[in-house]
């Protein structure tokens, strides 16, 4: 199975799905959002605590597949401590990655000019979410990792920065 699962189901994803670090509720969340996928019945709820314009803590309740659960848990970890603006920027980078074509990996021989044109230049890193990038080769599963971001969008819908 390892050979079958290797590229998509990174060990970190399976570990997260099995033992999420940020699952649960917050007693008094400032923001809440929910994402639902009616095709498969998956659901993610996010509880978010704010300090000013910064996200101080996120907890999620996810009923979903390994990819969805891992994506929610990694979102919670990556965005804790971020400003709302940064959180949206991480989401934009994640979305851009999911639709990215199979571009050749950045290599050291690429010129400075090309780097200036890199649309991801200046966008925040994906950090702990990096293992999820393999999903872009599995179109049918992209919705699974996007679901927590649908919930985030709903939670942040009325936050003005």
């Amino acid at each position: 199975m390892n050979s079958l699962a290797q590229d998509l189901y990174d060990r970190q994803i399976v570990e997260r799905a099995r033992n999420p670090l940020h699952a649960g509720d917050l007693p008094e969340p400032d923001l809440q959002g929910e994402g639902r996928n009616p095709l498969c019945g998956d659901r993610t709820r996010l509880d978010i605590a704010l300090q000013g314009h910064h996200i101080s803590q996120i907890r999620h309740r996810t009923r979903g597949c390994a990819l969805c659960t891992a994506a929610a848990d990694m979102l919670a970890e990556r965005l804790s401590g971020c400003s709302v603006e940064e959180a949206r920027a991480v989401g934009a980078r994640f979305s851009a990655m999911l639709v990215a074509q199979d571009a050749p990996a950045q290599t050291i021989v690429q010129g400075a000019e090309e780097q200036r044109n890199d649309p991801l230049e200046g966008m925040p890193s994906l950090g702990v979410m990096e293992p999820l990038t393999a999903v872009r080769f599995h179109k049918a599963r992209i919705r699974c990792v996007e679901l927590p971001w649908v919930a985030l969008k709903e939670a942040l819908a009325h936050v003005r920065v």
């Binding site: 199975m1 998956d42 599995h138």
Partner: protein, 152 residues
């Protein structure tokens, strides 16, 4: 269908012909004819017997997969088996079965009220046809055991 086309303007044929676009599905029509002849040459009784034998075999095989539960136990069952696996989501199962050349459907199967009635969120569903054989069932059961080992 058009009546006449120039660079300046087009005119259309009279109805109903104006609503008939392009080449008719000639290849598909011939293909359907060939498929019907093929199915009739085997016969529906033989197809039904084949699917019944496979389904019986599959139910026996799937019963040996750890954590697997077949949904429903009808007196009469067609060549379709829905199942769940403890601690492994149907979508993860479907992706990994697919990687091993086995196509199944996973999710709510456009039947959300039924899923709720059964107390399930989603199931995986394997179905058998005249082109399926016992080797396919063996591969299904064996891959499911490996999937279970991978996730649990």
């Amino acid at each position: 269908m058009i009546s006449s086309v120039t660079f300046e303007k087009s005119t259309w044929a009279n109805t109903p012909h104006k609503f008939e676009a392009g080449t008719p599905a000639i290849v598909e029509t011939l293909g359907l004819g060939a498929a019907i002849r093929w199915v009739e040459s085997i016969g529906f009784d033989a197809i039904e017997a084949h699917e019944q034998a496979l389904t019986t075999y599959a139910l026996e095989k799937l019963a040996t997969v750890p954590g697997l539960r077949v949904v429903g136990a009808p007196k009469q069952r067609g060549g379709v088996i829905s199942f769940t696996m403890a601690d492994v989501h149907p979508h993860d199962i479907a992706t990994l079965l697919d990687r091993n050349g086995i196509a199944v459907r996973a999710g709510q199967h456009c039947a959300e009220p039924l899923m709720r009635r059964l107390g399930l969120h989603a199931t995986t569903r394997a179905s058998f046809g005249v082109y399926t054989d016992t080797n396919d069932i063996d591969a299904l059961a064996e891959t499911l055991v490996r999937i279970r080992d991978f996730f649990v």
